[in-house]
Symmetry: C2
């Protein structure tokens, strides 16, 4: 369903609500922040009118869907300190555990739970029996609303939901995203394994387009060894996440570069005619040469080239002979 439908029936909000992300945002973020604020209010509906209880944190398990790559410790420490000083304002949402009597499972509020556990306090919670589908939608929308998950964290969440068998409509609802965006997320997480993404980190400064580009590079079998090398290189894990992304991206782009003596510019040599109906990537190591083309006329132009290789080779030999060596 379209996100606009999700927001149907909600009170109109004033323009310019406060930005709620903890990292710089670009793109059409204004409407994003606004609609995510709407989602937050919608998620809060789960809590409305429900009795709040205090639970022992040891009685509460995490959700069956992980939604975060790692904790931002500085931000978590701030949250913990605020709770220590002021107590816990907003309850978390939990549901009765499916199979463990007397235990609960977090729908949302994982960090507040962790903070309560570390502070040695009970956690204030609303207990609500909801099914798996409602659970993941609420969790996802709460996460989208609090708007501090990066593109790749959201993509991993989507991937986990698909691996758990949810259909695209549920996933789109859980992420407040349309089908096209979900599809792009699946492309990225199909080509880049979850473990590789984990090692790269949440990359707050990297958006969808660059993740898609990296996924095409990582997805090439010929780059597999290079990916492993970069991930295992000394000190890689200690770099900031964005820098790790850049290192890998640069390395894979660069692995075509020895060939790029002829051509300046980003990545392997490329070629494109004025009508842009062919996009070619060219690799030349001297001993081996490869060229791949895509876009509208790629197939027919390739066929055209294939049929003329004999003639072109004769011409090539003639020109080499004219160089007279």
């Amino acid at each position: 369903m379209a996100r606009k439908n999700l927001l149907e029936g909600l009170v109109d909000l004033p323009n310019d609500p406060p930005t709620v992300t903890n990292y710089p945002m670009r793109g059409a973020g204004k409407s994003l922040v606004r609609s995510l604020d709407d989602l937050a209010k919608q998620a809060d509906k789960f809590l409305e009118g429900e009795a709040i209880v205090e639970l022992d944190p040891d009685q509460v398990d995490a959700s069956f869907v992980q939604d975060r790559i790692s904790e931002d410790d500085a931000e978590f420490d701030d949250l913990k300190e605020a709770i220590r000083v002021r107590g816990q304002d907003t309850p978390i949402l939990v549901r009765p555990h499916r199979s463990a009597e007397g235990r609960y499972q977090v729908v949302f509020g994982h960090r507040r739970l962790r903070a309560a556990r570390e502070l040695g306090r009970k956690v204030r919670a609303v207990v609500k029996p909801i099914d798996d589908r409602t659970h993941v939608i609420a969790q996802g929308q709460e996460n989208s609303a609090r708007a501090n998950l990066t593109f790749i964290e959201r993509a991993l969440f989507a991937r986990r939901l698909e691996d758990l068998g949810y259909d695209r409509d549920v996933i789109a609802s859980a992420l407040a995203a349309n089908a096209a965006l979900i599809s792009k997320m699946m492309s990225v997480t199909e080509r880049i394994s979850a473990s590789t993404i984990q090692q790269l980190g949440s990359a707050p400064g990297v958006g969808r387009e660059r993740w898609l580009e990296l996924s095409l590079l990582v997805g090439k079998a010929s780059n597999e060894a290079k990916v492993s090398d970069v991930l295992r290189s000394p000190g890689f894990g200690e770099l900031p996440s964005d820098e790790r992304f850049s290192r890998l991206y640069g390395a894979l782009n660069k692995s075509a570069r020895p060939v790029r003596k002829v051509e300046a510019g980003a990545g392997k040599a490329t070629w494109q005619p004025r009508d842009k109906a062919v996009q070619a990537e060219i690799k030349n190591t001297g001993k081996a040469f490869s060229m791949s083309m895509k876009a509208k006329n790629a197939g027919r132009f390739g066929e055209f080239l294939s049929n003329r290789l004999d003639a072109l080779y004769e011409q090539f030999l003639a020109e080499e002979g004219n160089k007279g060596d």
Copy 2:
């Protein structure tokens, strides 16, 4: 717009309305025939409540969009005979000619016009001033409704509308088809030129899937000569349309087979010059193309190719342009 929207507000009809096609139909034709009958009624709305006049056929020009590949003479003779004996039941729809005073242009009813002309009689007509957009939608829907255009005739009609600059919504309306079907029609008529389709004929026994397959075969530059040979072979034009289609399809399918001897699976070909200083592997999926070369001269020949891509592409475009479409 979806066809269902088109039919909104119309009276529900009984099941099993009479089949109206003049050739055997397969597939989901029941709903097709029913909805086309609805379209016929809708098209008749253009005629409702309008004064019928008698026009000299020599005052009436054809539509600016051709909708038929050729006339089925037997069927036309039947129509003409019926008009001769009983007169003309249903008026045709014309609009005042845009630029020629005192002349008219047919929206629909071309065959009835022709019959009247050949019988030396006036033609009964409704004259209605409508714009180009309404004109093509009415014409298209009338044609769809009378349901005697084959897939490829409808596809050509769609192609003509696109070439005339109408957007996809208008085209979908004119053909009572959804966007996906229009897109497939565009693919076929993009790859197979109108003149080639004309020579193959309306092919009443051939559906979308086979036309799509043929279009992929015809779209291969390597098959270009073969297409010309088959179209020019003695007696080809005298064959029934379906047989002409089969002949061309068989010839192209057969001519592709020798190439794939080398490699099973997704069409991978090889190439090697006489001096064997280059070994090339070529893969072409129609949408993407890749070629890799190794051996002694691979790098230098590859560089030679890379430096000539612009010129080769111009040559490729020129040759495609010479096909005349």
